[in-house]
Symmetry: C2
Subunit: 255 residues, 2 copies
């Protein structure tokens, strides 16, 4: 059992999209995967069904001590479970994310899920504060999406500073890799960002798998499914997450 956090300081880079589609791909490869939503916006629910958006979740455990096991939602795919946020009024965001910041509750989820799941994937809100720091404190690994656009790429080194600071305080978290997302090869300034990252980042840090900008993601969130379930025969973009899951597996330290 290990924790894997999807995190970036920059917003809108594809954290939730990667968390959902990677979890789906890992479950298809045989990892019993629990996807946990730590973003008070409830983004995993917003990407899937209204029913999931309104289901009880992490907030019910945090405030009413509802046991974790009873809050996990089984999906159509055997081996993929989801722990949604539960209903959080917008003006309660601060209380929710501060309640997760030290990582204790998020770590306890791994203990509660022991034996039933092999990996817990945490989706997080953007920024290195609150729940995102908590998820990193509770995790063995971090995957950080970087959007292939100038503003996001200029901030890519920040993930090293945060992980370095957490390790200095005794949290054994490590960066499993940086994932290039929303690469738009027909837009010169997006391609130039990618070329620059391919040139400057050390080989073992950037995943080979790259997520291109693709309207299928909007269709998938409109339909409330991972992109692998968008059509009877999955679109090519879904294979990127199978590739990512395989690459990620090869990078895991032997237990």
């Amino acid at each position: 059992m290990f924790g894997l956090t999807i995190a970036s300081q920059k917003g809108g880079v594809g954290k939730t999209t990667v968390a959902l589609n990677l979890s789906y791909a890992m479950a298809r490869r045989g990892w019993r995967t629990l996807l946990v939503d730590t973003d008070p916006a409830g983004a995993i629910g917003l990407s899937l069904t209204k029913k999931l958006s309104q289901a009880p979740g992490l907030a019910d455990h945090l405030y009413q001590h509802t046991p974790i096991a009873g809050l996990i939602v089984e999906t159509k795919l055997k081996g993929l479970g989801i722990l949604p946020t539960g209903k959080i009024p917008a003006d309660e965001s601060e209380r929710f994310t501060n309640g997760l910041a030290d990582g204790a509750v998020l770590k306890a989820i791994q203990t509660a899920a022991q034996g039933r799941y092999d990996v817990v994937v945490y989706d997080t809100p953007s920024g290195f504060v609150g729940a995102t720091l908590g998820a990193m404190r509770a995790s063995r690994y971090v995957v950080s999406p970087v959007q292939a656009e100038p503003i996001a790429a200029r901030g890519v080194m920040r993930i090293f500073e945060v992980i370095g600071a957490l390790r200095a305080k005794g949290h054994p978290v490590e960066l499993l890799g940086i994932l290039l997302t929303m690469l738009h090869t027909k837009t010169q300034s997006s391609l130039a960002v990618a070329e620059d990252l391919w040139k400057t980042l050390p080989g073992n840090l950037l995943f080979e798998a790259t997520v291109p900008r693709d309207p299928a993601f909007l269709e998938a969130s409109a339909a409330g499914v991972p992109v692998g379930l968008l059509r009877r025969r999955p679109p090519p973009i879904a294979m990127v997450f199978d590739q990512l899951a395989a690459e990620l597996e090869a990078r895991l330290a032997p237990d």
Copy 2:
């Protein structure tokens, strides 16, 4: 003098892009505008020049009590000043944003800028926590960008909850309008989101001005300029912010 916050719970919806380009358009229309970056990622600096990214700023005022007036950077455009974040190590994000959360420091900026500026525009990190709540507490108005994509649009009502809660606690902040961004008319699921918002949101809430998805924004951030300065003759997309500034003006309450 009034404060205007650009805020959304969802990340990557165009807050920084709108804050920068709207401030530029307002200054061109004669509003002496001070753009303040409250995002510990330093996104305004990342959108413009490396020099601005490394300049002292709000963090120096917060920690070393450097007077605000000396930290304001004059731009090429007379009437547009910028207060950058200053250098904030990634693992200091929490301290920075918590230091701004009550709104006192951000409100004091308006007092310091009185007489020299007419409006202070606050760019904020995503999520209704920390600095973003502080900026709303210090502002008279909020403009909330909503990305024309399913996940962002599903969370659009959250801004009403947060503003309602702040008003209930005595902060006279009001929503000036919701701005549709990244509308991609050639992608059905983006167009469907826009049509749905145009149908469901009350007329006076959604600005007429809409920001389409346009690669010019990536070129502009690669070049480190507002989109209005990208070429000798500004691209058509720049006029959207002139339209927005004019619409916004019409919605301001008489002083």
